[in-house]
């Protein structure tokens, strides 16, 4: 039986009067890629930030690799890697220095750190820029550096917020391959994306969030049944569940 590596139970987050996330519960098992979809402002990034430990939930519980993120944050964070949608990295460190710093933060053995840095820099084609400061990197290079930083400690759980934005097709493909390899080794991958084609092809299960509420979770087939759109694409299911059909009609007008 697969082990749940991420569990959220009745997760709610309020910002003043506004409810950003409302009673969200789901599980992600080891060996699974979970896609998290939703319109802009639906609560995807807030949910991710709570799982990673960047935000405290107003109520509810999150466990990562069996550790409660509120009660045992250090253990939970040590088991996870996170790539934010905007990779703000220390501009005056070189790529190599940043990865070395991350190695220290995760308390990795120094000889292991050196080897891992070389491995990751090669893998992401960053080796020639490894000793350049990050302020000279393009957006795509920064995105790859952030991903390399998240993979430094070979996490059990990888959480990615819009990981393919700003990446060239080669890098995007590389990320997909890496995620698949990690999942094959028993890790859990949680990714939010707006590119439905990526979600449809990569994810084993998909969750759709709208206005802070998780309105659907399941495999593609389960979602088709739920959306009553037999044989439809994920785009059709997404629009039917999030009420985006009207917007699609408007888009048609503009063609």
């Amino acid at each position: 039986m697969p082990t749940p590596l991420i569990q959220t139970q009745h997760l709610t987050k309020r910002f003043g009067d506004k409810i950003a996330v409302k009673d969200v519960s789901f599980e992600i098992n080891s060996g699974e890629v979970f896609g998290f979809l939703g319109p802009n402002g639906a609560g995807k990034t807030t949910t991710i930030k709570i799982i990673v430990g960047l935000l405290q939930p107003t109520s509810g519980r999150v466990t990562v690799a069996g550790y409660d993120i509120s009660a045992q944050p250090i253990q939970a964070k040590a088991a996870s890697g996170y790539v934010p949608d905007t990779p703000n990295l220390y501009a005056k460190l070189t790529g190599r220095e940043l990865l070395s710093f991350v190695g220290d933060l995760y308390n990795l053995d120094r000889s292991q750190v050196e080897r891992r840095i070389d491995e990751l820099l090669r893998m992401f084609d960053l080796i020639s820029a490894a000793n350049d400061t990050i302020d000279s990197y393009s957006h795509g290079m920064q995105q790859k550096t952030a991903l390399a930083a998240a993979l430094m400690h070979d996490p059990k759980v990888l959480i990615l917020d819009e990981p393919t934005v700003g990446l060239d097709p080669k890098s995007a493909r590389l990320i997909k391959d890496i995620l698949r390899q990690m999942v094959d080794r028993g890790a859990a991958v949680f990714l939010s994306t707006h590119i439905l084609e990526i979600a449809e092809r990569m994810c084993d299960r998909i969750g759709i969030i709208n206005k802070g509420e998780l309105i659907a979770v399941g495999t593609m087939d389960e979602l088709r049944t739920l959306g009553q759109t037999g044989g439809a694409s994920l785009e059709d299911i997404f629009l039917s569940l999030t009420g985006g059909v009207e917007e699609a009609e408007i888009a048609e007008v503009l063609k």
């Binding site: 964070k77 703000n88 220095e97 710093f101 933060l105 000793n131 000279s136 007008v253």
Partner: protein, 594 residues
């Protein structure tokens, strides 16, 4: 359903420059109004009061200039310093020259930001509007605040001069016209200089260097006055005044083009129509021509400068071998010692902070400030000789002795002052300096205590090193006894630790992670509170350390009693302040950045 085919390509590209400039300026005005409208009430009231204050200040300068320039023409002053006519005639020349150079220098930094680092250039350049209109708007945006600020001082003086000298009415509007014309020419020239510089160096690096140099020059200039005043007689002699006025008047050379606007306007005001109108029109023509030429050249240079910047940024890095780069990043001896003493996350944080602080010149300028202050105040302190003021000689001998004993510890005060300045930046803004990168720490398995310990050490160690350096230097120069020097060292080591704890705690409590410019990372109210509390802690702590020595001297007890009592009490207080405030902050640190 299909969109109406007529909708396609409905956008009408505009080729007229001035209407687009007007639109862009209106857009700018709209954003300013919106910012004001959405600001907090206190900020709105502050802005209104500030504007009224500026108007009152302008009026005051006008009144003062009028009085001063009338006084310069008075016979009583002429008796004292000789004829001042040549100096008074040189005033417009000096002001217009200073105005042009001031706008040129200040516009450089603003235009560098506006043309290369602001986010709206791509948006504007991709819109179907003439590029010239964009440049004119950017120049106007850059020049207007500086124009307002410099004109606040210059315009009242020039109008005051006009009234004091009884200039004719044509002088007054011409002054304003000339100022506008000079501003545009200076801004155009500054724009060209920016584009030239950016062809060679990356824009961000230029901004950092400018900030660093500007900050250092302003601090050195402000403190040199103190240094000069500390050792010299401040009375100014008649010869000095006459010499200074004569030197300023000599700058009014007719062959320097920068002097033509001032000379022309002065002649115009005095009714010398031919030289007045000639020089004024020539100046207006030259400045207008310079502005136009700048615009034409800027349009050609902009793209090549921009493209060049991208290439330079990627080329500039040294080609180290990967292993060398990591190995050289941390000194082996320090590393191996630190490995034994500190956990890896703390070591990593300390190493990262020092790298970032050293490489970012914007941070470095804030760190060099204490050193400059320390040197200048150190020289002043040594000049004073460490002797208490003798007064009229009525004070009893015991009081003077005790006072002398305390004065001997003046080096402690100076050493701690230098360290305190450094702590304000390193401890007070230790968390804020993480800025938008804080997510990396928060998402990592690093406890609040580890973060606080790392930040404490990042702040405390350099402050301690700098303070000890000053202390040892002054102790040697003053020939202080070994026991006294050792006690001074203990006081500095412990007092700074307490101060670091307080500053760090308040800095963390009010941490700001949203800044774009490091000068705006100030920790706000909590940071101010931290400064006030350290201001209270410092005399109290020094009193606890040094008070027993004073009392021992007062009651003729052996020095050892004073050292022992002061050491125990001071040590307790310092350690309490070093440990307790950061401990109390641990829970708060866990919620930072949310």
């Amino acid at each position: 359903m299909r969109a109406d085919a007529n909708l396609a390509g409905r956008a009408q590209p505009s080729s007229a420059v001035l209407p687009v400039v007007w639109k862009l300026l209106r857009l700018r005005w709209r954003t300013t109004i919106n910012s004001f409208r959405h600001a907090k009430t206190a900020a709105k009231v502050g802005t209104v009061i500030g504007l009224i204050g500026l108007a009152v200040f302008g009026g005051f300068i006008f009144w003062l200039s009028w009085l001063l320039l009338t006084f310069l023409r008075s016979p009583s002053l002429t008796q004292y310093v000789g004829d001042t006519t040549t100096f008074v005639d040189a005033v417009p020349v000096l002001i217009f020259s200073a105005f042009f150079l001031g706008i040129l220098l200040t516009s450089f930094g603003v235009l560098l930001q506006a043309l290369y680092l602001s986010g709206d250039m791509d948006f504007l350049l991709s819109a179907p509007v003439p590029i010239r209109a964009i440049f004119i708007t950017k120049l106007l945006q850059a020049v207007l605040p500086n124009f307002g600020f410099i004109a606040l001082f210059g315009l009242p003086v020039l109008y005051g001069l006009g009234l004091a000298n009884g200039y004719n009415i044509l002088y007054f509007p011409s002054v304003l016209l000339m100022m506008v014309s000079l501003s545009l020419a200076a801004a155009g020239l500054a724009g060209l200089l920016v584009m030239l510089v950016v062809r060679i160096f990356p824009a961000r690096r230029v901004v950092e260097v400018l900030g660093f140099v500007g900050a250092i020059i302003s601090i050195v200039c402000s403190q040199l006055g103190n240094l000069m005043n500390s050792g010299h007689n401040n009375n100014v002699s008649q010869d000095q005044v006459t010499g200074a006025l004569g030197m300023l008047a000599q700058l009014n050379n007719p062959w320097i083009p920068l002097n033509w606007p001032g000379r022309g306007l002065a002649a115009l005001g005095e009714g010398h129509w031919v030289p007045g109108l000639g020089l004024t029109l020539l100046s207006l023509g030259l400045t207008g021509g310079l502005f136009w030429l700048s615009l034409l050249t800027a349009e050609r240079w902009y793209y090549s400068g921009w493209a060049g910047m991208q290439v330079i940024a990627r080329k500039k890095q040294p080609a180290h071998s990967p292993r060398m780069a990591t190995a050289s990043a941390r000194p082996v001896a320090i590393n191996s010692l630190a490995v034994r003493l500190l956990p890896a996350p703390i070591r990593g944080l300390i190493w990262k902070d020092y790298l970032v602080l050293r490489r970012d010149l914007r941070h470095l300028s804030q760190l060099v400030t204490p050193l400059i202050f320390g040197i200048i105040y150190g020289i002043m302190f040594l000049r004073a000789g460490g002797e208490p003021p003798a007064g009229r000689g009525e004070a009893p001998a015991w009081l003077m002795n005790s006072f002398r004993n305390l004065m001997a510890y003046g080096n402690i005060g100076l050493a701690i002052f230098v360290g305190w300045m450094l702590l304000q930046r390193l401890a007070g803004m230790g968390f804020s300096q993480e800025g938008k990168n804080y997510w990396l720490l928060k998402a990592a398995p690093v406890s609040a205590r580890q973060m606080l310990t790392a930040k404490f050490l990042v702040a405390y160690l350099p402050a301690l090193a700098l303070s000890v350096l000053f202390l040892v230097g002054f102790s040697i120069l003053q020939g202080i006894a070994i026991a006294q020097a050792a006690y001074s060292l203990l006081v500095v080591v412990l007092c700074l630790a307490g101060m670091a704890g307080i500053q760090l705690a308040f800095g963390a409590a009010g941490a700001n992670f949203t800044w774009e410019d490091p000068r705006k990372m100030n920790a706000g109210k909590m940071g101010c509170l931290g400064m006030i509390l350290t201001g209270l802690y410092l005399p109290l702590n020094l009193g606890v350390f040094l008070g027993p020595l004073f009392l021992a001297a007062l009651f003729s007890l052996p020095d050892g009693y004073g050292y022992l009592a002061g050491g125990v009490l001071g040590c307790g207080m310092s350690l309490l302040c070093a440990i307790l405030p950061p401990r109390l902050l641990e829970a708060r640190v866990n919620r930072l950045g949310e």
